[in-house]
């Protein structure tokens, strides 16, 4: 039989082994639990974010400024880019070819507003195309502000606008309607 000291020392050794085993189990658990928790959070983010966006009303979900939005999008609404709070003096319409030439100069508030409000409602998309002003018939819409001007190029299929070096476009249907609007208005 063991002496009391041997017996006691054996108990304390077993205790140390027990704590070491507990510690090892804890580490093993953490090794498994950490990736599982990370996967759970990732899955939650992936599945819950679209669901959350679906549940939020559209006007709340749409960022006020698409350019500052963290969500990638090709679609850029016109009211972001155009600043029509500055009074427009006139709008000049011109064509690069004389055959199908359209020339208009609008100075009256009513006509300016009707064109501006139409442009204001346009939905622009990012475009990889560049506009060659001499490529086919291109109608140039020049919006004159007190200190500056802004040009839009209306081609057969779409309206392009150069904004800080980036070209943006609209759908053909919208371009056709804009062309009809311009043609329907008499020059001032």
């Amino acid at each position: 039989m063991k002496s009391k000291e041997q017996f006691k020392s054996s108990i304390y050794k077993k205790r140390d082994l027990y704590y070491a085993e507990q510690h090892r189990k804890c580490l093993q658990f953490m090794k498994i639990a950490t990736p599982v928790a990370a996967c759970f959070i990732l899955a939650f983010t992936i599945f819950m974010t679209p669901l959350r966006n679906m549940l939020i009303p559209v006007d709340e979900a749409t960022p006020e400024n698409h350019l500052e939005s963290s969500l990638p999008t090709d679609e850029v609404s016109s009211d972001v880019i155009d600043d029509f709070s500055i009074p427009v003096l006139s709008i000049e319409i011109n064509t690069n070819t004389e055959d199908e030439g359209i020339y208009r100069l609008f100075r009256t508030t009513e006509k300016i507003n009707s064109i501006i409000s139409y442009i204001d409602d346009l939905i622009f998309f990012e475009s990889q195309d560049m506009v060659d002003e001499n490529d086919g018939t291109v109608i140039t819409i020049t919006v004159n502000y007190p200190d500056s001007e802004k040009n839009y190029y209306l081609r057969d299929d779409a309206l392009f606008r150069n904004e800080s070096g980036d070209w943006k476009t609209i759908s053909k249907a919208q371009a056709d309607r804009l062309k009809q609007l311009i043609e329907s208005l008499e020059s001032d």
Binding site: K2, K4, I11, Y12, Y19
Partner: protein
Amino acid sequence: MDNGASSYHRFLEGDESGFDEILDLYQHNLIFFINRYVNNLTVAEDLAEDTFLELLIHKNRYNFQTSLKTYLFAIGRHKALDYIRHNSRFPTISLDEAAEKSNEFISVEAKLLSDERKRLVNAAINRLNSDYRAAIHLVYFEELSYEDAAKVMKKSKKQVENLIYRAKASLRSLLGKEGFEL
């Protein structure tokens, strides 16, 4: 608080000598009690260590409502039964080793039970079934009350009384066959 409960209380408050006192009080008694079940002194010693280990690692389990002795012996019995259950499924000891351990036990036992009469009684007790052995040991060797013995054995007081009655009858029969005068 008595039966080592106050010592355990001191140990829980950081006084290591409290644990030494508990060992002084119960080390050998617990080993012999467990040996009643396992019939192997080395194993009994190992299981007794595990029993005392419970006091070290699960410090909040003892509620100081019952006697520490009852608490310890109940754990000891539980460990012994676990060992027997496990060993019956996975016997690992070789016959040579068993014989060696048996001899070792006999030699130690012989030292402790020098008196011939006591040795004969003890040998007869060892031939009883485990419940009889445990009941006899708790009541007559550890001098526990029937209530405390019942707590250790997880039985009712009445069941312990019946066990003692039958154990004594069996002992009487065994010792009578060997010509022991009662």
